[in-house]
């Protein structure tokens, strides 16, 4: 065992000697830089409206979702099964403030819509800010009744809120706001949303997906940066402390209510941002999108990635959304036919998805990319158990 370890150490040193010193010193920074550059030039390798680019854009939007949920579930340890609510609020922010839906109003701020069109037409960035405001308030409100609860009860209350918001979205057609306007358009959907417009760049179109890609890429970078800074900040450490031991954390002076509500609000805000993007990208806001399975999908991403780990959330989101939106429908769909079987793989899509979830979790229960702190805990526990066993086996505990 120790020989093997020494051998590994030797190899590691040999590799380290090959790497130039300027790279070795700041390797994580260089890696990040390289990834950003690859990310920026990636769309040039694909056709402007290719299926892969479409899947990548959706995957990146899910990365934002996963990072947001990771704040709530991963950092603060509050199991949230109603995350779809924030997707809904984000998407409805676009529906309300970026289309002709409220036809009695006539507000235009730097939008792509014609100046004479009725409705509220705000710039994409303004809608994003509105959504952040709405969702953080909604997140706080949803968080309030869960403060006294623990563990899975939080899960069920958030689930209940998520479902209620879904039902309200579907039945919003019968909630009248006066002047013939309703709250939502239900399953018909609010369509003809404004395409994002940026002064100096112009309108986005659905024929060229590259600007969409860059937009969501920038959002991902911002969210990622905020997430990394949050994790290492005072509030991030407070979340982790609450997650590990609530009583100990509170007695050390961490304000329980504020810290938990901050987690809900910040997680919700990320979900809202992603919701705005997904809503605008789909160019329609349809109430049937806001199903419980969405919350589960995002939760699966962060657990498969490794709960609490930022890079795990990114990886899990990319992995699961590529599998769901690209691999199964586009790449593998005709696979059975090439083997002479008479069915399409899409008929099995969620069966395959479920099977993969089971497989990944059984093979790697801690997730693909576990958080460093948790990894240390797991290995430390094993080490402690080993030590106990050794002690129990040899009363003269010198051999350990």
């Amino acid at each position: 065992m120790s020989e093997l370890r020494a051998q590994l150490q030797e190899w590691r040193e040999a590799i380290a000697a090959l790497v130039p010193s300027w790279l070795a010193r700041r390797w994580s920074r260089w890696l990040a830089g390289a990834l950003i550059v690859i990310g920026i030039v990636l769309p040039f390798f694909f056709a402007p409206a290719s299926g892969f680019l479409n899947a990548t854009i959706i995957a990146l939007a899910y990365v934002v979702m996963a990072l947001g949920l990771n704040v709530v579930v991963g950092f603060a340890g509050l199991l949230d099964l109603g995350y779809v609510a924030f997707y809904a609020f984000g998407a409805y922010a676009v529906g309300w403030f970026g289309s002709g839906f409220f036809f009695n109003a006539h507000i235009h701020v730097l939008s792509s819509a014609l100046g004479t069109a009725p409705g509220i037409h705000l710039n994409f960035v303004l809608i994003l800010l509105c959504a952040i405001g709405i969702t953080s308030v909604a997140g706080t409100i949803i968080g309030l009744p869960t403060l006294r609860l623990r563990g899975d009860y939080i899960a069920i209350v958030t689930l209940a809120f998520g479902e209620i918001i879904g039902v309200v979205a579907v039945n919003g057609t019968s909630i009248h706001l006066g002047g013939g306007e309703t709250l939502t358009a239900g399953n018909l959907g609010i369509s003809a949303l404004d395409l994002p417009y940026f002064p100096g760049i112009g309108n986005f179109t659905l024929l060229d997906l590259r600007p969409w890609y860059w937009l969501i890429f920038v959002i991902v970078l911002i969210v990622l940066f905020v997430n990394l800074r949050l994790r290492d900040s005072r509030i991030g450490r407070a979340w982790i402390a609450l997650r590990e031991d609530e009583i100990a954390a509170v007695s050390m002076g961490i304000p329980l209510v504020r810290t938990k509500l901050m987690a809900y609000a910040i997680g919700a805000a990320f979900g809202g941002m992603s919701g705005v993007f997904l809503g605008a990208y789909a160019t329609t806001v349809n109430a049937s999108q806001f199903a419980f399975s969405f919350s589960i999908f995002v939760l699966a991403m962060i657990i498969v990635g490794g709960l609490g780990s930022i890079w795990g959330a990114v990886l899990g989101a990319l992995l699961l959304s590529y599998i769901n939106y690209y691999l199964i429908p586009d790449v593998l769909n005709s696979l059975p036919r090439t083997f002479g079987l008479n069915f399409d793989l899409t008929q099995l899509s969620f069966g395959i998805f479920g099977f993969l979830l089971v497989l990944v979790m059984v093979l790697r229960p801690q997730g693909l990319f576990p958080e460093r702190r948790r990894r240390l805990e797991l290995t430390a526990e094993i080490a402690a158990e080993d030590a106990q066993l050794v002690e129990a086996g040899t009363p003269t505990a010198g051999a350990a």
Binding site: P145, L149, E163, G354
Partner: protein, 369 residues
């Protein structure tokens, strides 16, 4: 001791009326909330009446409580199905603290098995009464066995390997199995709801209680649920394996030290939960006369809500929660419209959680002791 606490609390509440209010809301608020719907609609029916038909161009109004009674009867029978499913949730949660998301889909499999099996037996509406009863009892046993084994299998494959894993990992495998079972259902019975033959002619009236009609389906649901619940209660409290289940639920480590085979006990729990879901599946198919591959999703959510409402880990709580949710659902269905029902049910869940966080009858889990 209790006298002292009582006196101090009286003094405290005299000082702060707000605290008194809070104490009363905490103690009675939930009961008020639960009684609100039936009381409101009862008073409304008596004072404003409700339309039962049209006579001479005028709506025919009645001023009595029979519509409310009808809602409650339907609610109880519907709730009996939720109670059967909720017991599976509560047993599993009590013993391994897992929200078994695949449970609702096991219930769907129960319905599908029952429908296919009675199709194979050749049961139709024309079958003689004795043949029908015999056939349905056989179907019930088959559905229960199939679902029980399916649940045990899922536990073996998806949950047991993760016994020592982080707590949320089995949640994801449960979701995975839920998807797999839904896909199986989709391939089995197609993507849209399938009507099944109305074997028991569920809409035939059996008897009346002061103007409230009780249908065959209502009798069936309660007649299947009550014996199973009594049997389960006896099994858990009075038999050796039942005691082993309770011991494992309280402290698996200590149970193991006392010589209980924890793995077998957990498998047994899943077997029982699955069997109850199978029974619920058969009853549901006869009750609703349609089956759908996605039926288990909503049923699962409602049943889990029922389990939480009653106090998770608590079998009596699951039954109570199921019946209550059934009634809330029926009232909402007939008064507010079915499209709002889900929101009403979940609204009640949030109320229960905020007013009485441990459920109506108190939870019986490891952490609660």
């Amino acid at each position: 001791m209790s006298a002292i606490t009582a006196r101090t609390s009286i003094r405290a509440s005299a000082e702060r009326p707000l605290a008194l209010l809070r104490r009363y809301v905490g103690r009675w608020g939930l009961y008020v909330a639960l009684a609100a719907l039936p009381v409101y609609y009862g008073v409304h029916d008596l004072s404003h009446g409700y339309a039962v038909g049209v006579a001479h161009g005028q709506p025919l109004m009645r001023h009595d409580l029979s519509q409310l009674g009808f809602n409650l009867v339907e609610g109880i029978s519907n709730g009996a199905i939720w109670a059967l499913i909720a017991m599976g949730y509560t047993l599993v949660y009590g013993i391994i603290e897992l929200i078994n998301f695949a449970h609702g889909d096991v219930f769907t499999m129960g319905s599908f098995t029952a429908v296919s099996f009675w199709g194979t037996l050749g049961l139709t509406i024309g079958t003689s009464t004795l043949g029908l009863i015999g056939g349905l009892v056989l179907t019930l046993i088959v559905a229960m066995l199939v679902c029980g084994s399916l649940n045990v299998l899922i536990e073996r494959v998806a949950y047991r390997p993760l016994r020592n894993a982080p707590k949320l990992a089995p949640l994801i495998t449960a979701v995975g199995f839920s998807f797999i079972l839904q896909n199986v259902g989709l391939l089995w019975q197609g993507g849209s709801p399938v009507g099944v033959s109305d074997l028991i002619q569920e809409n035939n009236a059996v008897f009346h209680i002061s103007g409230v009609i009780v249908h065959r389906a209502d009798v069936l649901a309660v007649a299947v649920m009550v014996p199973l619940v009594v049997l389960l209660a006896w099994f858990i409290t009075s038999t050796r394996p039942g005691r082993a289940m309770r011991a494992t639920a309280q402290d698996p480590e200590a149970a193991r030290l006392m010589g209980i085979n924890v793995n077998h006990t957990i498998s047994l729990t899943f077997l029982i939960g699955g069997m109850l879901a199978g029974a619920a599946g058969l009853v549901y198919a006869l009750y609703e006369t349609t089956v759908w591959y996605f039926q288990g999703f909503e049923a699962g959510l409602i049943a889990f809500t029922a389990a939480v409402m009653g106090g998770i880990g608590n079998v009596r709580g699951a039954v109570l929660g199921g019946l209550l949710i059934g009634c809330i659902q029926q009232l909402s269905d007939s008064r507010l419209g079915p499209q709002w029902t889900e929101a009403v049910v979940f609204g009640y869940l949030i109320l229960v959680m905020t007013l009485q966080p441990r459920g109506l009858l108190g939870e019986e889990t490891r952490e609660a002791g």
